[in-house]
């Protein structure tokens, strides 16, 4: 083509330096996003994308799952219990500072007496009920309770540093609810461990 040496050099240089990237004439993202959103709306489950979630957070997620008993009821139905009526909660006891002063958690979480009573009864019967369960069911219960207690500790520690965090408060309440659910399940399970 170009007969001159300098022209050939330019061509060789241009071949090596051709930019791999060429910007499209228009923005393609809006259409890509629309397609993605359309797929997500038709198949939300497929897009939930469970991916390499650490077991610790899986346990925490399980803990956050849901049950409606206990502390939440106490907080919402029995305001008197929060006003320092003398109800001594497990949480309060465990959260008391060395100086005896209540922590932020004590103020935020004072469960109602009915919850405390029911939980205490379930805890008393727990060992006997566990002993009656088949080993796999027993192991499952123990693992669940251990996960709940770990989550409870983590959340209490986190709340100690950030007492006003509403999300942490809610998660902690949920852990108590979940503990109650497990205890209730154990109590109601037959000797064969059905329902666990």
């Amino acid at each position: 083509m170009s007969g001159t040496g300098s022209g050939e050099e330019r061509k060789v240089s241009a071949l090596r330096e051709l930019p791999p990237a060429i910007e499209p004439a228009r923005d393609l993202w809006p259409q890509i996003e629309a397609r993605i959103n359309a797929e997500r709306s038709t198949a939300p489950a497929a897009q939930s994308r469970p991916r390499a979630v650490p077991p610790r957070w899986l346990a925490a997620a399980a803990v956050v799952a849901s049950v409606a008993v206990g502390v939440w009821i106490g907080r919402s139905l029995l305001p008197a219990a929060r006003s320092g009526s003398g109800v001594e909660s497990t949480i309060s006891a465990s959260r008391a500072t060395a100086a005896g002063a209540p922590t932020a958690l004590d103020v935020a979480y004072v469960p109602d007496p009915r919850y405390e009573r029911d939980r205490a009864a379930l805890m008393r019967s727990l060992q006997a009920r566990l002993a009656a369960l088949p080993p796999p069911a027993r192991a499952k219960v123990m693992a669940s309770l251990a996960a709940i207690h770990r989550a409870k500790e983590d959340l209490e520690n986190a709340l100690g540093k950030d007492p006003g965090n509403a999300l942490l408060q809610e998660l902690l309440v949920n852990t108590y609810q979940d503990e109650m659910r497990v205890l209730t399940d154990v109590h109601e399970a037959g000797d064969a461990g059905r329902g666990i």
């Binding site: 083509m1 170009s2 007969g3 050939e8 330019r10 061509k11 060789v12 240089s13 241009a14 071949l15 090596r16 051709l18 930019p19 791999p20 990237a21 060429i22 910007e23 499209p24 004439a25 228009r26 393609l28 993202w29 259409q31 890509i32 996003e33 397609r35 993605i36 959103n37 797929e39 997500r40 897009q47 939930s48 994308r49 991916r51």
Partner: protein, 186 residues
């Protein structure tokens, strides 16, 4: 910051975006798109020689990538992974589309699928046109190896051919370019 450190930072940043996109964050995925769209589109355009087809292929590439993102190993290169998808999509589209014959403009070395600006050097236009006029297989091998820097083996795997075939196609591409441009090409 050294170049290596900058590279590491970039990889970490990209991995974080991938992770966020995996959890359903489309904003994170959009940032990945912005980062890689040019190279993906460039590859699709050079493989299909049709701007509209290349746009379709680019969109399809990123939609497929979004679907498959949970299976992407963050240790490997996102760029390579996207290019692999782009090659597959482009090959499939090209098979479906009617064959694109070199146009008169292509033959004249003055235009074709790539849209030039006034700033585009004449040499670049000429060479792009010459590449665009190559047979599909030869062009694919040349683009992946010479422009995108993939090894013969990597290019062969992307194209679904034997490594020897890829080398032969590259040899053919160089020969045709040499004849057309009257220069030795790398």
């Amino acid at each position: 910051m050294t170049q290596a450190q900058a590279g590491d930072t970039r990889i970490d940043w990209e991995a974080a975006l991938v992770q966020r996109a995996c959890s359903g964050d489309t904003r994170a995925f959009e940032r990945l798109y912005r980062e890689h769209a040019g190279r993906v589109y460039g590859l699709c355009l050079r493989m299909t020689r049709d701007a509209h087809l290349a746009e379709d292929c680019t969109q399809e590439t990123f939609i497929n990538a979004w679907r498959a993102l949970p299976r992407f190993e963050t240790r490997s290169s996102l760029s390579t992974w996207l290019h692999r998808i782009a090659v597959n999509v482009s090959l499939a589209k090209r098979r479906k589309a009617s064959p694109v014959e070199p146009s008169r403009e292509d033959e004249a070395g003055g235009g074709g699928a790539l849209e030039w600006t006034l700033e585009t050097p004449v040499e670049v236009q000429e060479i792009e046109a010459a590449i665009g006029a190559l047979p599909d297989g030869a062009r694919d091998a040349l683009v992946l190896h010479a422009l995108y820097g993939y090894s013969h083996l990597e290019a062969a795997r992307m194209l679904g051919v034997a490594e020897g075939t890829c080398k032969a196609q590259l040899h053919r591409a160089r020969k045709l370019l040499r004849e057309r441009l009257n220069v030795e090409v790398g």
